[in-house]
């Protein structure tokens, strides 16, 4: 390979914004009877026009997850901005269940803005939530997501994940054998994409540290796959592994002290756990077949992984510290079951599934390991890399659309789908962040 090799770490740069993959969301499948909500445009008492439309951000968030439908502005009978201007009757006539109003003021004597919002239950005629959030104009988008989080939790009882972010890989074919690979970070909806690392060699398997401050990934920048950890804010990074052969699939333990990974230094790929403080390496599986795709149980005591020890990939679980023979097989009814992770309930297993040998279709599915019921959530054929939102409500995954790699998301019940299309390159391997502070 005579191609020029480069790798650069990008720090929150304006430059990186121009090269980002321009993701923007499309709802591809909603539910039949979404909850009607009216979001009145927020008043702004300062000069000029604000760069962000806070009410619009809230509407996008709520509609993207499919549970809500917002009332068109032109159908509103009044445009209240605070509680004393709200007449419940106006909204009941329009068959709205909920109402959000707000206003934005310049904070006196500073560059900051104050966003005051109030959220009402129309049928019960009561205010459910309200507060004043202060931030810079550049943070208005975060404030909008914050408000959407509150509304989502008030209505569904589940915390919203609209302030969460995603890591993903973009690959662009330049010419001949030359590719441009990027590790990018964006808001969950694809907005504000930033390049964290750019390389002429593949980048794979991004994963978040439990506190959301670091990313682990595999980079081939030395011509060999090696694991790195990079601080997302500072760009500072270090190489974690340099074992012979495959070094891949880094995943943080829930307590952030260890990294599960796949190494083939002893012949075939096996699961290992490296202590991040002592660098001590513990071998977890020991089998001449392929063992890969580790994920942690929520209590950090066991690891779920894929192995083709019976001839085809199936999902197994092993308790840490147990003998490597003491492996429990979790899947039986698929030709191939791969890339599995338990939902926080420890019962439902998200995975990639190929049902039958004759049809090489790979779809995202959930197996309940107690009832053995399987729900297949997607109906495209090249679906992979499922990653669950921190509130457990949705799964983002990679698939192909019009011959290009795109990121799709599906609700855990399969009813809602949205897509983040990319304007350039193949986008893949989404990793949904934990709750970020």
């Amino acid at each position: 390979m005579n191609t020029r090799v480069y790798v650069c770490v990008c720090l929150f740069s304006i430059l990186s914004l121009s090269a980002r993959a321009e993701l923007s969301i499309q709802i591809t499948q909603g539910i039949d009877n979404p909850i009607p909500i009216a979001v009145v445009p927020f008043a702004w008492d300062g000069e000029g026009v604000l760069i962000e439309n806070v009410a619009g951000i809230v509407i996008n968030d709520l509609e993207q997850v499919g549970e809500f439908r917002s009332l068109s502005r032109s159908n509103m009978l009044s445009m209240p901005n605070e509680e004393r201007e709200v007449f419940y009757r106006d909204w009941r006539i329009l068959a709205q269940d909920y109402l959000l109003v707000g206003k934005i003021n310049r904070a006196s004597g500073s560059q900051l803005v104050q966003v005051q919002y109030e959220f009402f239950d129309i049928n019960r005629e009561m205010k459910l939530a309200g507060e004043i959030l202060t931030g810079s104009v550049a943070q208005l988008r975060d404030i909008g997501h914050e408000i959407a989080n509150v509304i989502f939790e008030q209505v569904t009882g589940v915390p919203g994940a609209f302030t969460s972010q995603i890591l993903y890989i973009v690959s662009e074919h330049v010419q001949g054998d030359d590719y441009n690979f990027r590790l990018e970070k964006a808001d969950y909806d694809g907005a504000r994409a930033q390049v964290l690392l750019e390389s002429s060699q593949p980048i794979m398997s991004p994963s978040w540290s439990p506190n959301g401050e670091d990313a682990a990934y595999v980079s081939f920048e030395t011509d060999l796959p090696r694991i790195y950890i990079q601080n997302i804010a500072t760009g500072q990074r270090r190489q974690i592994t340099n074992y012979p052969n495959i070094n891949s699939s880094p995943v943080w333990s829930p307590d952030a002290t260890k990294l599960a990974m796949v190494l083939s230094k002893d012949g075939s790929p096996d699961i290992y756990v490296q202590d991040l403080n002592s660098n001590q390496l513990m071998r977890v599986t020991d089998h001449p077949s392929i063992d890969t795709e580790p994920s942690w149980s929520s209590d950090g005591r066991s690891i779920v992984f894929m192995s083709d020890r019976t001839g085809q990939p199936q999902i197994y679980q092993i308790e840490l510290g147990a003998s490597s023979y003491n492996v429990e097989r979790l899947t039986y009814d698929c030709f191939q079951c791969m890339k599995a992770k338990f939902l926080p309930d420890g019962v439902n297993l998200v995975h990639v599934r190929r049902e039958a040998r004759q049809s090489p279709n790979y779809q995202i599915a959930i197996l309940n390991i107690e009832t053995l019921r399987v729900i297949t959530l997607t109906n495209t054929s090249l679906d992979e890399s499922p990653s669950v939102a921190p509130n457990g409500s949705m799964i983002m995954y990679a698939t192909k659309f019009d011959g290009r790699g795109v990121l799709d998301a599906v609700s855990i019940d399969g009813r809602v789908k949205f897509r983040l299309p990319s304007s350039q390159g193949d986008v893949r391997e989404p990793a949904w962040s934990p709750f970020l502070n």
Binding site: L11, F12, A138, M204, S264, K339, R354
Partner: protein
């Protein structure tokens, strides 16, 4: 959200050029050694070899076969299969003998998979394919230290697209001289 910072840090890595540099020193000897070696090691086909050796500068048929075999550097695989095709066996033997005859030679076996199936499994599958060829080289006289294996899984397709033809071209092991 510190976005005002307009920093841009660029790190160029020279590691790879060092690796290639180290490997380059041995390549010049390769061609001289090929000729006298191939005839002696292929004892089975001595009949055809002797008949072809007429004038001193001409290559024997066996030597031509060897050269043609060494020119094939990409080997394709069936879907979900890690073993190389039986039809490639003879060609691979020539590669192995060439390594055996030229202990200074180094090569890299780059394993690849098509995009179907998960990326991590394909990374492992690419390695399994390359390892299969490496082991066959060793059985046929090459030394383990001459061969480096790296798998790219499905990350570096030879042809993009979701067609059978693209998939067929992407399931491969490439023999790369170092």
């Amino acid at each position: 959200m510190g976005m005002q910072h307009n920093q841009f840090l660029k790190i160029s890595l020279l590691v790879i050029s060092l690796v290639t540099l180290a490997a380059c020193s041995s390549t010049s000897e390769t061609e001289e050694v090929i000729e006298d070696n191939q005839g002696s090691s292929s004892s089975g086909s001595s009949a055809s070899t002797t008949s072809a050796v007429s004038s001193g500068g001409q290559l024997t048929q066996e030597e031509i076969r060897a050269q043609n075999a060494l020119r094939q550097t990409v080997f394709y695989f069936d879907f979900d299969v890690a073993e190389f095709k039986p039809a490639d066996r003879d060609t691979l033997v020539y590669h192995a003998r060439d390594l055996a005859a030229n202990p200074g030679n180094r090569l890299r076996l780059e394993g690849h998979a098509d995009e179907r199936g998960t990326r991590e499994y394909n990374l492992a599958l690419g390695e399994r394919r390359a390892n299969g060829i490496m082991n066959y080289f060793i059985v046929n006289g090459a030394s383990r230290s001459q061969i480096e294996v790296v798998s790219y899984g499905e990350e570096r397709p030879s042809q993009s697209g979701q067609t059978e033809q693209a998939y067929t071209r992407n399931r491969r092991v490439e023999v790369v001289a170092r």
